[in-house]
């Protein structure tokens, strides 16, 4: 009997720290620390290029919590990149302050500052004349780590971003695919374990499928590392998928709304934001919830190397009409139905329906729904990191969770509106009493 008591792990959440022991494990053993991020505070940050009539970034004030992934999203030319590049002072602000972890960094040496801030850009920015390992080793070497420590760190980082160190260690960037380059770019940014990571449209130059994978990887990384990440994109769907909070920027980086993705989708602050959210907010809402957040059910499985007779017996006697057939590596392979039995004739080769699509626990409900809709059995297999079977999700579960989710959103939006109204009333009162103070934008 193959035993698989894994579905329970679906509930184990980010807090599962501690190295998993075996160092060969592809991921997970790296830097299994709790929140390693730092708070970032931008205070009235302004960039005015000489000769330009208007500032490119006009008085941005923003508080970013430690361990939070904040996405700056807005139309091209709204100054979101400028805003990001002022945090590591690649662009010197005209006025305003930046503090990281409470320390004012507006006037300290920018080179030292940048070594403490990871930086990943579009098209990876890898140095083409250096090998993957040399690229990753740059920052650790600059901050003076020992040779041995740097070497170990490089392996660790390659593992972390899902590239086999033995295979990729001494390759040159041009020998990698776009997606692989981007992974190395992220590895380089994280190599010296900076508390803050800045990402400037890092996935802008890769194809949609790879981008999807990279986004999933980033979500996984962030669950392991808890860095403070500021991520710039013009793709609102990407923002929703990745952000703990999203800052929607209009021209000159004026913050139109700075809130959780749920709040922005259900309660956009104004027409600009709702225009940016675009149509299909309810569908986009599906992008916000992951398979790990819904109930992953157990399902009867057999393995291809089980004796045929056992499989027959199970199919005949079991209460389900269907069985999930796993391959030798415990990966979902086929759906077997009772009706398929007649066609078996000594081999499983021709029986059952092949499984084309399965999802990981990090996949969004939208991906899961897509898979359920296209799968003949009306359910989708959930797999772990190496593609091994964990459980299944069916249509009914999905529908129920979507309903619950939307209901909760409606309640939250209502509460939000009440608090906004209360806030506005308070401010009006304060203004009338002459003690008006500017407070942050939408909370």
């Amino acid at each position: 009997m193959p035993d698989h008591d894994q579905p329970g792990t679906a509930e184990s959440r980010p807090t599962e720290t501690g190295p998993s022991g075996a160092t060969e494990a592809p991921h997970g053993d790296a830097a299994a620390t709790s929140v390693t991020g730092a708070t970032i505070r931008l205070e009235n940050l302004t960039k005015h290029y000489p000769g330009a009539p208007l500032p490119a970034v006009d008085g941005v004030t923003m508080d970013i919590n430690a361990g939070e992934l904040v996405v700056l999203v807005g139309p091209s030319g709204c100054g979101k990149s400028t805003c990001l590049r002022m945090i590591n002072r690649l662009i010197e602000p005209t006025s305003g302050r930046i503090s990281i972890d409470g320390e004012d960094v507006t006037d300290i040496d920018p080179v030292g500052l940048r070594r403490k801030i990871g930086y990943a850009i579009q098209a990876s920015g890898l140095f083409p004349h250096m090998t993957v390992a040399e690229n990753i080793a740059q920052v650790p070497r600059m901050v003076g780590w020992s040779k041995k420590k740097v070497k170990n760190r490089v392996e660790e980082m390659l593992d972390l971003v899902g590239l086999d160190p033995r295979e990729f260690h001494s390759r040159y960037p041009r020998q990698l695919s776009g997606g692989q380059q981007q992974r190395v770019g992220v590895a380089r940014a994280l190599a010296a374990d900076p508390p803050v990571l800045l990402m400037d449209e890092p996935f802008g130059a890769v194809d949609p499928i790879t981008r999807d994978h990279l986004q999933d990887e980033l979500i996984r990384l962030q669950r392991e590392l808890h860095k403070t990440i500021v991520f710039v994109t013009h793709d609102f769907d990407e923002a929703i998928k990745l952000g703990d909070r999203i800052a929607v920027l209009r021209e000159q980086s004026h913050i139109a709304q700075f809130d959780t993705p749920e709040a922005i989708l259900t309660n956009p602050a104004d027409d600009f934001v709702s225009g940016f959210v675009g149509a299909g907010a309810a569908l986009k809402r599906l992008n916000l919830t992951r398979v790990r957040d819904v109930e992953i059910a157990d399902f009867d499985t057999v393995r291809v190397d089980d004796p045929l007779q056992d499989i027959f017996d199970k199919l005949r006697s079991g209460d389900a009409n269907e069985l999930l057939l796993l391959d030798q590596q415990n990966r979902p392979y086929k759906w077997l139905r009772r009706g398929d039995l007649s066609r078996v004739k000594g081999s499983l080769a021709r029986a059952g329906t092949l499984i084309h699509d399965h999802v990981t626990r990090d996949a969004t409900l939208r991906d899961a729904l897509e898979a359920v809709l296209t799968d003949s059995s009306g359910r989708v297999a959930v797999t772990g990191r190496r593609g091994e079977y964990i459980g299944v999700v069916d249509m009914e579960t999905l529908l129920n969770s979507v309903h619950e989710m939307l209901e909760a959103d409606r309640l939250a939006a209502m509460e939000h509106r009440h608090s906004l109204e209360a806030d506005r009333a308070r401010r009006t009162r304060a203004a009338q009493e002459g003690t008006f103070t500017t407070s942050g934008e939408a909370s």
């Binding site: 690649l90 080179v111 070594r115 579009q122 740059q138 600059m142 041009r174």
Partner: protein
């Protein structure tokens, strides 16, 4: 006396001249490379400075070599000094131009990335910009060397070292028994040296250009 008999009897003199020719070109190229790359590094960031450097070195190259050496004699005297000075000046243009163009051609995104991960200006130059600009710079050095091979022959006019002495001696004694042989030996020597240097550059390229950017 045919050419081979001439070589047989005078090979020592020819070898000494060849060695001196190679040596003066090599040394001048080292100086021109260091100077040229330095000028390139100092000027490429500013449009006007880079262009000024290229234009200046280009106008030096338009001075006929015989005239330049002739002009240098009253300033620095005869012999090695005017030779080295002239060769370095002529060797600058290809190196400076390729250094400026090469450094300017480095992808700004890479410089941005280098800055962004915390490299100082010096580190950026030595770890990112120069290695990436190295292939065009090396091409410049190669072109300059080829040019200097020929120009170095003129140095004999100022009593400088090298195979030019054979050529000049031959030309001034045209009609005598060995005149033609001398010119031929000098010229052939220069051609062979040029080919050998070129081969050396191919090897240097193999050894110094990262596999990641080799064409």
């Amino acid at each position: 006396m045919n050419f081979w008999e001439y070589l047989g009897s005078r090979y020592q003199q020819v070898l000494v001249d060849t060695y001196q020719h190679a040596s003066v070109v090599f040394q001048c190229m080292v100086i021109a490379t260091v100077l040229g790359v330095a000028i390139g590094v100092l000027t490429y960031r500013r449009q006007w400075a880079g262009n000024l450097a290229i234009t200046t070195t280009a106008s030096i190259l338009t001075i006929p070599s015989l005239a330049l050496i002739g002009l240098l004699i009253p300033l620095v005297g005869l012999g090695v000094a005017p030779t080295v000075l002239a060769l370095v000046l002529y060797g600058l243009l290809p190196v400076v131009r390729n250094a400026v163009v090469g450094l300017r051609g480095v992808d700004p995104a890479l410089v941005d990335a280098a800055k962004g991960i915390g490299m100082s200006r010096t580190a950026r130059l030595f770890k990112v910009e120069l290695p990436l600009a190295w292939p065009p710079i090396l091409t410049g050095i190669r072109v300059a060397t080829q040019m200097l091979m020929g120009i170095a022959a003129i140095a004999a006019f100022a009593s400088g070292p090298g195979l030019g002495n054979l050529i000049f001696r031959g030309i001034s004694s045209l009609g005598s028994a060995n005149a033609l042989n001398q010119v031929l030996a000098g010229t052939l020597g220069i051609v062979i040296l040029a080919l050998l240097f070129d081969a050396a550059y191919v090897l240097i390229g193999r050894l110094t250009i990262s596999r990641g950017i080799r064409a």
